[in-house]
């Protein structure tokens, strides 16, 4: 039964891939996060991330963009924080500006932590209409060597995000799924390595599939 189901699934996937004019891109997505705690539950988050394409139809290295962002966050409860930020995206075509508002709920369970993030962002670019997005992401961090995550221990991070985009009266949805393996270097430093898969344009067009190898470094100063 299991073999039959698996064969059917593979046939269906191959069949649907032959007819859909989907695109596929594979590349690198390294990022650096610097966090600074401030008094009265305020904190700052600086993030820079670069996107580098390795395969798009053929193997072809292409440095796509750099994102630089800064967000100010305020804890409004033991598990809840609100944040506002600004992101600058630099690519070959110029600079995009993005404003960000988010609320996060982080619950620490006995064996794992779970985070829900609701985020709205607005992207502005010269000679282009504003793109507005509403996003929801659920992420979990699961320690691999005990019930809590301690230094010198590994963990798994899983996340799933749904992005609703409105741009020039056109709606699109993007879905992201990521799986990372991480290591706690010290109480203030974490390193993660894994895959980040994204699909968009699947409602009214040809799906765009992108798979990124992520390498994230988080540090607190």
């Amino acid at each position: 039964m299991k073999r039959y189901s698996l064969t059917l699934l593979i046939i269906l996937l191959i069949h649907s891939n032959n007819y859909a004019q989907s695109t596929f891109e594979f590349g690198l997505l390294p990022s650096l996060n610097i966090n600074k705690k401030l008094p009265k539950d305020w904190s700052l988050n600086f993030k820079t991330e670069s996107r580098q394409s390795l395969i798009k139809e053929d193997f072809n290295y292409d440095y796509l963009l750099t994102d630089i962002s800064l967000a100010a966050s305020k804890k409004i409860g033991i598990n809840t924080a609100i944040a506002m930020g600004y992101l600058m995206r630099i690519d070959d075509k110029g600079v995009k500006n993005r404003t960000i508002q988010q609320i996060t709920f982080v619950k620490r369970y006995t064996n794992f932590s779970l985070s829900h993030r609701l985020l709205a962002d607005q992207t502005f670019k010269k000679d282009d209409n504003t793109e507005v997005r509403f996003r929801y992401r659920v992420s979990s961090e699961i320690p691999l060597q005990g019930k809590s995550l301690d230094p010198k221990e590994f963990f798994i991070k899983l996340s799933n995000e749904y992005l609703n985009s409105l741009h020039e009266r056109s709606y699109d949805m993007e879905i992201r799924g990521a799986a990372f393996i991480g290591y706690v270097i010290s109480p203030t430093n974490k390193l993660e390595f894994g895959f980040d898969y994204r699909i968009d344009s699947f409602i009214n067009g040809d799906p765009g599939n992108r798979l990124w190898i992520g390498l994230n470094f988080y540090t607190s100063i």
Binding site: P30, L32, N33, I34, N35, P39, K40, D41, N45, K47, T48, E49, S50, Y63, L65, T66, I68, A71, S73, K75, G77, I78, A81, I90, D91, T104, V106, R108, S113, L114, S115, R117, S139, S140, E141, Q145, G146, K147, S148, L149, D150, P151, K152, E153, K157, S159, G182, S186, P187, T188, N189, K190, E192, N216, F217, Y218, T219, S220
Partner: protein, 190 residues
């Protein structure tokens, strides 16, 4: 744009090399890595579900902890490094505390925190291990046991949200308070 990213990465990584940290570590251990007297104590209780063993390396001491569930309640039994029994903690709900004790504890917490919420309550038994064994096997009462209540609350300290672990006696008298260091979660927030 590539240069900006590389420069920021190099600057941050190079400044990390000199930092040193002290830490406490808790990790899962196999039964074979636990002192025999600790295993014998837990096995004699006949819990009806699996036991998970943990080793905790603190600043000054090493301890072993057995965790399990029994009749819907979470049990945590702590032993010293050589397997000597230290205490047993059972998670309970607030209405399982004697109402007079709970009122005294609530009054104390209200006087010390403008706003707080109870995250977890555990009844803690320590003292003579044979008396505790007898009590857990329903052969005796809790008379003679050292009974305390460990209560974890969330609230504000010096204007910041935090979690605190309080220990009260069975009559609701304050014994000690410890601030819990929360793990950083930026990697699932941003």
């Amino acid at each position: 744009m590539r240069t900006i990213f590389i420069l920021i990465m190099l600057f941050t990584l190079s400044s990390q090399g000199f930092a040193q940290f002290k830490y406490e570590k808790e990790s899962r251990v196999k039964k074979s890595g636990v002192p025999a007297n600790a295993i014998n104590f837990v096995d004699s209780i006949n819990f009806n579900s699996g036991i998970k063993w943990y080793k905790e390396i603190g600043f000054n001491a090493i301890s072993f902890e057995a965790k399990t569930k029994c009749n819907g309640k979470k049990y945590s039994i702590e032993f010293s490094e050589n397997g000597s029994f230290e205490d047993i903690e059972i998670e309970i709900k607030s209405d399982e505390l004697p109402s007079e004790t709970f009122n005294i504890i609530s009054k104390y917490l209200s006087e010390n925190h403008n706003k707080y919420s109870i995250e977890k309550i555990q009844v803690q038994y320590s003292g003579n291990k044979n008396l505790i064994l007898g009590y857990l096997l329903n052969n005796s009462t809790s008379i003679g046991l050292v009974t305390n209540y460990e209560i974890v609350i969330s609230g504000k300290v010096a204007g910041s949200f935090t979690m605190l672990e309080y220990l009260f006696s069975k009559n609701g008298k304050f014994i000690q308070k410890t601030q819990i260091t929360l793990n950083r979660t930026e990697n699932i927030e941003y």
